[in-house]
Amino acid sequence: MSDRSDRALSEQLDQAIDTMLAGAAHTASADATFAALSEIAGTLRDLPDARFKARVSRELQPEFPRRTPMTATSIESNVSTFAVILTITPFVCIPEADKLIEFMKHTFDAEESGRHPHGPDGFVASVRIGDSDLIVMGGESLRGTECPAALHVYVKDCDTTYQRALDAGAVPLGSAGTGEPADRPYGERAAFVSDSFGNYWFIATRFGPDYIGIGLGHVTPSLLPSNTKVRPLIDFLERAFGARVEGLYENAGRIVHAFIRIGEAMLEMGEADETGLRPFGFYMHTDDVDAVYRSAIAAGATSILAPGDQPFGERLAIFQDPAGNRWFAAKRIVAG
């Protein structure tokens, strides 16, 4: 179909939709193609509200069970019922991914290890900071559906890296200098910045013989749910993936920071202090996509894509957790 006839069809269909939404029946047409599209549009008038569906789904979840201290036995028996989760990789989706990768190279000496075309104008790139991988998706078609990240990055010299981040366009987070490099009570010198694309970077140098936190890699992805979602999100991660809370810091009854292990991966969790903060994306490499999906849905996730084999050689499922984060559970099904 030519661009011109394509435009004409999109205009004609939109006019018919306007008429339908105003209360008229779907438009009869002698053109079979238009008639079929118009009939689909007519049925879409009854499409249920996704927010309503998610709200009822959450409401139907029984009370989150009170967690009991986990013994070694209970951890073993719990974990054994879940699929093996090999890695969890931050999945950053922004239109200006090229510029973000340049920022990461300038600030953290990141290396781009692969890039593949995606969609009409986009790409997916693998980026490595130190020993940690990130997936970055770019392209104009992502505008309006951006999915940034919050990442805790260990560096040898917090102050130098902080300055490099500012030179590359980042700004300190928080007010009155709270984002600037400072010795923190939890054993790190750390600075907090936001880049030009909405990602948060927690730049840290651990005190002691090694600048990286014990048991962590160079990059630890963070979850930042709003304050009412912290506890439900932890419960979801436990029930969906067999997650284990390995460090929990509470203040006045509120969880302000937690380390959460899921399989071989470690995530951090803090409490968002900005109501407008968008949820994040995580790419989960597992040995059983279907089992992860079933378990997540049963634990209260909302399905976005049921498990299926994709043309790019992966079995993939996508779902959204109760705090709005998107999880891409995947397993490679062909060599490559």
């Binding site: 394509d6 435009r7 069809l9 999109s10 205009e11 269909l13 939109d14 939709i17 939404l21 079929a36 599209l37 689909i40 549009a41 049925t43 879409l44 008038r45 009854d46 499409l47 249920p48 509200d49 996704a50 309503f52 569906k53 009822v56 789904s57 409401e59 139907l60 979840q61 029984p62 969609g119 078609s141 992502l142 505008r143 309006g144 559906t145 029930r239 079933r294 849905i297 049963a298 634990a299 209260g300 399905s303 976005i304 894509l305 049921a306």
Partner: protein, 176 residues
């Protein structure tokens, strides 16, 4: 002889009877069907939403009492929906004008077609899904959607067309 699908459903129901957290799977599989069934029998979306939520609340509360007697789980849900719709019309004082309450209507081709279409919408690429949801559910104009997504009005109309073309192709492939 039971089919694999019936066996799967029986296993899911039994799992939900043992552990109510597993009810979420049954909700996901039946939500669109029940919503489409109810929407055809009430005046507007708000009533359909209230009654749909009531159906699943009642089903969850009574899941332990459900027994397989040769009908699918969906038929049990439709039975609840049918009764709640009837109660709704009685409360409205319009019993005489209420639609037919036969459970067979739940598996009418029209409702099955809507059910499949709604499921397919939620598998559209994100940008297409957002346009369809804003246009048909939130009833926003193309101009409002374009402003919200930071795109041109022409680009939004193209996304709308691509989404509906994709849905049509998939519906034809599903043979319903």
């Amino acid at each position: 002889m039971r089919t694999g699908r019936e066996d799967d459903e029986r296993a899911q129901v039994e799992a939900a009877q043992r552990d109510p957290t597993r009810f979420a799977e049954l909700y996901e599989q039946n939500f669109y069907r029940i919503y489409a069934y109810i929407l055809r029998r009430v005046a507007d979306r708000h009533q359909a939403e209230d009654l749909t939520a009531d159906v699943f609340r009642e089903a969850l509360a009574g899941i332990r009492n459900f027994e397989f007697r040769g009908v699918p789980f969906a038929a049990w849900l439709v039975g609840i929906a049918s009764r709640l719709v009837a109660d709704h019309w009685k409360r409205s004082g319009r019993e005489a004008g209420s639609p037919a309450m036969d459970h067979q209507a739940a598996v009418s081709p029209e409702i099955e077609r809507s059910t499949i279409l709604f499921q397919l919408v939620y598998r559209l690429p994100d940008a297409q899904f957002r346009v369809i949801h804003m246009r048909f559910v939130e009833q926003k104009s193309i101009r409002e959607i374009a402003q919200q997504l930071g795109r041109s009005e022409g680009a939004v109309k193209q996304l709308q067309l691509r989404a509906i073309e994709s849905l049509r192709a998939q519906m034809e492939g599903s043979h319903v």
